[in-house]
């Protein structure tokens, strides 16, 4: 099996690579590439993302044909795809970080700044927060409710259809921390930095 981590200059992805390689050991081949043919032929795709919504979308668009390839992979062929952090946020129709920016439009909804209640809550939301599982998700197999995950973000995904939400976390309000919609998975937290529980989620995705 081939799992491809999309390398599209979206910031620092070494931790994502390290964690997937740790979990995959020799059983699964982990590719790190922006090569469209390799993405097309892989069994699963991981879409990381760091920095702003706009910078990540711009970076995706900078690689000719990449968005079309991802659409074909996830929407037409319905193969499993996992978005992490801004990778998840880009599933939305639109994001409001820096400038209003069009997203991939896979999950209807928007990405806007977390309401920090006039400074009552610090932003970025950095650190370990609890996963409140609201719906069974294949990537949560063996994960206890209220497990801690590592977050670092200032913006949140607000989907129109709440049924896609698989877990929320409490920071200022109930923030979406993961989604599952058919073959599309996403985590706002960083499983690659969430210790053993995080590695288990990666393992679950690899073994889907």
């Amino acid at each position: 099996m081939n799992v491809t981590i999309v390398d599209y200059n979206s910031g620092n992805i070494s931790s994502v690579i390290n964690s997937f390689k740790e979990v995959a050991k020799d059983k699964v081949n982990i590719e790190v590439t922006s090569d469209l043919n390799k993405i097309k032929s892989s069994d699963k795709v991981v879409l990381p993302g760091q920095g702003s919504f706009k910078s990540c979308v711009d970076a995706l668009n900078n690689i000719s044909g990449l968005v079309d390839t991802l659409n074909e992979f996830a929407i037409d062929n319905k193969k499993p795809l996992l978005g992490i952090c801004v990778g998840l946020q880009m599933f939305a129709d639109v994001g409001y970080e820096e400038l209003e920016t069009k997203g991939l439009g896979w999950i209807s909804g928007k990405v806007s700044k977390i309401d920090n209640q006039n400074g009552k809550y610090k932003l970025p939301h950095i650190g370990w927060n609890e996963l409140n599982i609201v719906k069974d998700s294949k990537i949560f197999k063996g994960i206890e409710n209220n497990s801690h995950m590592y977050f670092v973000h200032s913006y949140e995904l607000i989907p129109n259809d709440k049924n896609v939400v698989s877990a929320i976390t409490d920071y200022s309000s109930n923030i979406v921390c993961s989604i599952e919609k058919e073959n599309i998975f996403g985590t706002q937290f960083h499983p690659e930095k969430s210790d053993k529980a995080g590695l288990k989620i990666i393992d679950n995705f690899i073994n889907l």
Binding site: G11, N12, S14, S15, N18, S19, K21, E22, Q50, G51, S52, S55, N116, G119, K122, L123, P124, H125, I126, G127, W128, N129, E130, H148, Y150, F151, V152, H153, S154, D170, Y171, E192, K193, S194, D195, K196, G198, L199
Partner: protein, 250 residues
């Protein structure tokens, strides 16, 4: 609910831990990777490496350390010490650091903070502020606390937030190494002034000091000696904080 973080810090020189845990059963007590692994297995919420390598020739050693550690530790890794430029930050991130802390370079040229936070995202840019009490306020120092700057620490903290820092690591030079507790007033002043998380540092000698640090408004507490010398384990520290009704990840 967001938990308060406990961050053990390791001093690394020429790729070796110079102040670390004195465990007799360590195969190689000088190996930063092995020590970081002990901390992360023990429940550390984040690991911090402070590179105190003095000579430029040996600067590359930290890249190898970060690279090897990030393949073994799956909690966030912050690296600081001697970071001069956006290119230095880029290299550390590529080796597997999750955050980079900038001290002297941020004071000398705030643009490094602006440019790097725009390029890599605020989430990985930590500005380290070394402050010393002076005339009823605090002055910041650079070069590991050796050089005075005449710059007011509170004003600088606010400026760094505007420049795009994701977090502030605030160390009291008066308290550092004394084991008499954080400079609570300093932590309080800065964390109530900025909207980004503050990490308190400098002076921890007891577990109550960690409690005081969190109560003064810090989102995270950094400590070196109490963990290095095996006085307390990270887990003991967390249990103690929890017993004082401070939310921690256990």
């Amino acid at each position: 609910m967001l938990k308060n973080r406990i961050i053990p810090c390791l001093d690394v020189k020429n790729g070796r831990v110079v102040k670390g845990i004195n465990f007799i059963d360590l195969k190689d007590a000088g190996d930063p990777v092995e020590q970081a692994k002990i901390y992360s297995d023990g429940g550390a919420d984040e690991i911090c490496f402070l590179d105190i390598t003095a000579s430029n020739e040996n600067r590359h050693t930290i890249y190898d350390v970060v690279d090897r550690t990030s393949k073994k530790c799956f909690v966030p890794l912050t690296v600081g010490g001697g970071v001069r430029s956006v290119e230095d930050i880029n290299k550390l991130l590529n080796c597997g650091a999750d955050k980079v802390s900038i001290n002297t370079a941020a004071v000398q040229n705030a643009k490094v903070v602006e440019d790097s936070s725009r390029k890599f995202g605020s989430q990985c840019i930590v500005v380290a502020i070394d402050a010393k009490r002076k005339d009823g306020g605090w002055e910041i120092f650079t070069h590991g606390g050796r050089n005075s700057t005449g710059i007011n620490a509170l004003e600088f903290a606010s400026k760094m937030e505007k420049c795009g820092a994701g977090e502030l690591l605030v160390t009291s030079m008066d308290k550092d190494g004394t084991q008499s507790g954080y400079d609570i007033e300093l932590t309080q002043k800065i964390s109530s002034m900025v909207n980004i998380p503050v990490i308190a540092s400098g002076g921890v000698g007891t577990l109550d000091h960690l409690v005081d640090g969190i109560k003064s408004g810090a989102s995270a507490v950094l400590a070196a000696s109490i963990f290095h010398y095996g006085t307390y384990s990270v887990n003991q520290a967390k249990q103690y904080l929890a017993s004082k009704d401070i939310p921690v990840r256990i």
